[in-house]
């Protein structure tokens, strides 16, 4: 576990870089988090996915997988990979400050 600072606020990240306490996340932190993932700037399309991930996490306690994102977010899997080339579910979850989606068991 490490402590990092985004938008002048200290937050805790786990070893893989996901938020330990998703409630510490604010929208102001997103662009800094995105730059760490090589995404700059965040466009409206990115924000659509990030807000969707947040809402899904708050409703269900876990973020959606890529396949579920493709079916429900209104953004196709192909476009999701264009937006988040290193893996939409994981990278968008990091930027949205939610835990790693636990779709895979």
């Amino acid at each position: 576990m490490t402590t990092a600072t985004f938008a002048a606020t200290d937050v805790e990240l786990n070893d893989e870089g996901f938020f330990v306490h998703p409630e510490q996340w604010t929208e102001e932190m997103a662009s800094e988090l995105a730059r760490r993932e090589g995404i700059d700037p965040l466009t409206d399309a990115h924000w659509k996915v990030i807000r969707f991930m947040r809402a899904e996490y708050e409703a269900k306690g876990t973020g959606p997988t890529v396949r579920v994102l493709g079916k429900t977010s209104g953004v196709s899997v192909k476009e999701l990979y264009q937006l988040f080339p290193k893996g939409p579910a994981k990278v968008a979850a990091k930027i949205a400050g939610i835990p790693k989606p636990r779709g895979c068991i």
């Binding site: 997988t65 079916k71 999701l80 080339p85 893996g87």
Partner: protein, 412 residues
Amino acid sequence: MAPRIVILGGGTGGTLTANRLLRRLGPDAVITVVDQDNRHLYQPGLLFVPFGLTRVEDIVRPRRLQLHEGVQFVEAPVDRVEIADQRVHLGDGTVLDYDVLVVASGAILTPEETEGLTGPGWMEKMFTFYTPEGAAALHEALAAFDHGRLVVNVVDMPIKCPVAPLEFCFLADWYFTERGVRDRVDITYVTPLDGAFTRPVASEHLRGMLGDRDIELVTEFNTGKVDGPGGLLVSYDEREVEFDLAVVVPLHSGAAFVGRSEGLGDELDFVPTDERTLQAKAAPNIFVIGDAANVPTSKAGSVTHFEGETVVDNIARHLAGEPLIDGFDGHANCFIETGFHKALLIDFNYDHEPVTGHYPGRVGMPLLKESRLNHLGKLLFESVYWHGLLPGRDIPGISASMPLTGRHERSE
């Protein structure tokens, strides 16, 4: 009036639930099992079909004969469930009213969801062993295959029996070695996961076993497209893996009727279910067992068997107006066939990772270690399945909750 219990699905979960309920409730309940056909497939047997170690006709028995006398069997497809009316509408127009509904309809394969997979080359150079037809066709193709690139690919999770594709790799290594052509066949395992398996300790162990057998591992590969004529798997992030023969585990969904039943399923037609009580989120008189549930453990027969006790107990409690128990702990127990007459055994639940040690106690089958004893256990299991698990008997020495003695727990 005797409560009417309708069970949708006559596979592992539906059959063992019906038989256990009959014993528990006796003539005080009317138990009906619905399935679209009368063929009960021993699914773990499919893995062995491509290698000629068993045949499809040897692993199928009539569903009806696995149900005890006193359980009614209806052979018809399900159209939809009307939750508010407590009714099941069947495809032939029949309506079944229920007091308690059990969803035991498993998972289906959706290969058409992956671009190109069911296009040119499907069942010629791309196969799946997850269906009887696919496993039988793959048997022919493997027999004719004596050199080239064999790729085993999991498109995405969740899948039934997440260890089966790894077992396929191990058995392919053994099979081509026995035929004397192993040095002319490249075997590659291509997975969307970031390791060989979903759980960290077992994942590292299995990665080592792939390496020892000269099986290449490609991770974090999300298959977006399969090009049959070109012999290519293409990931969404535009990486490519070449193949001469591809063995693909396609995407899975829940049964289609779940999607047609308002309020019952999720985006993938699995049923949102309380992971401890196995009650559906949709209504208090609906329970879910086996692959149909969205609970965060493996989709596997052993899990279904362990869930049976809790499902039956909670149905009886629900009918008696008593509070439900948090009985299910996520227990999964899998033999992993590793070829050359050996197998590995893993045992885990919601809270405990698969680790080394022995099962079910300090003296027993070795965990996370290859042995002949585990291979014999895997072979013996087919008989236990038909004669112990489906009739709903408790298997001696094997409890539903995970045993902790004998395990070498690691501190985090």
